[in-house]
């Protein structure tokens, strides 16, 4: 049996509060991990460890941080993700809402793409969610 959306959110919230030292009420579904919650690159490793333990899942590095796509000349041109690159990102990260990023897909903005809601969707895709 999967977890409910609320159960997933609560555990993700707990992981983020613990990893980032933010307050519960700052961690809402719309908050971006980098811009709103102040996550730095090293924090993502911490978040991965906490989510793996909390949900008993394995998280591959490239699932949350598709650096291989963003540094691939085939998918990036003049600092922006190409149409092929966007297709690859969507295939890799179907749980992420890329509608805003897609309008101006500059690689440098990708780091601030992920929201708490995206992270919940990602975890849901790993554990199964009673949506």
């Amino acid at each position: 049996m999967g977890l409910s959306q609320d159960e997933i959110f609560e555990k993700v919230q707990e992981a983020l509060v613990d990893a980032l030292g933010v307050d519960d009420d700052e961690v809402n579904r719309e908050a971006t991990l980098v811009g709103d919650l102040g996550a730095e690159s090293i924090d993502f490793l911490d978040i991965v460890f906490k989510l793996e333990k909390s949900f008993d899942i394995n998280i591959e590095r490239t699932e949350l941080a598709p650096e291989d796509i963003l540094t691939n000349g085939e998918y990036v041109k003049d600092g922006a993700v190409t149409a092929e690159g966007m297709a690859e990102l969507k295939r890799r990260m179907p749980w992420a809402n890329m509608s805003e990023f897609e309008q101006n897909p500059r690689v440098q903005d990708f780091g601030n793409l992920l929201t708490v809601g995206d992270l919940c969707s990602y975890v849901g895709s790993k554990v199964g969610s009673d949506a």
């Binding site: 613990d18 990893a19 090293i42 924090d43 490793l45 911490d46 991965v48 460890f49 793996e52 333990k53 590095r61």
Partner: protein, 168 residues
Amino acid sequence: MRWFWIDRFTEFVSGSHARGYKNVTLAEEALDEYCPGYPMLPPTLIIEGMAQMGGILVSEHFQFDKHVVLAKVGKAKFHQPARNGDQLSLAVDLDAVQDTGATVTCLSHSGDQLQAEIDLMFAFLEDGRFTEGPLFNPGMLRDMLRMMNFFHVAVDPDGNPVKEYTNI
């Protein structure tokens, strides 16, 4: 001053845990200035000792092939000061391992009293990105481990002595 904040390993099981001692003595200058008039080992140096022990635990798990650095102190609770004359019993357990980092949980006891609880996260530096070559001069880490009785007690998960690493 030597930057050693563990005195001796008493137990080491590869990929699992490490145990050891840190003796706190008045001969250490570090005790003088943290709280003048009340000598104590600064808590940050207890974290450093745990990081040294945890870093060795993580490094050995990867045959000392990775550049392991302390990346984050997840938790640090100190229940009592570490004063001169105290012998801190340090216990470090490997918690989780990824190909990009690892976490450990650490306890420090003075006698039967819990002295500190510390969670640490280590990251692995990518060769060429932040560093070139080894973090230690040849033989330096091996000498340090010998002084700390590491090779007297270190065993692999089957209980066999760990090999004498030649890359440290």
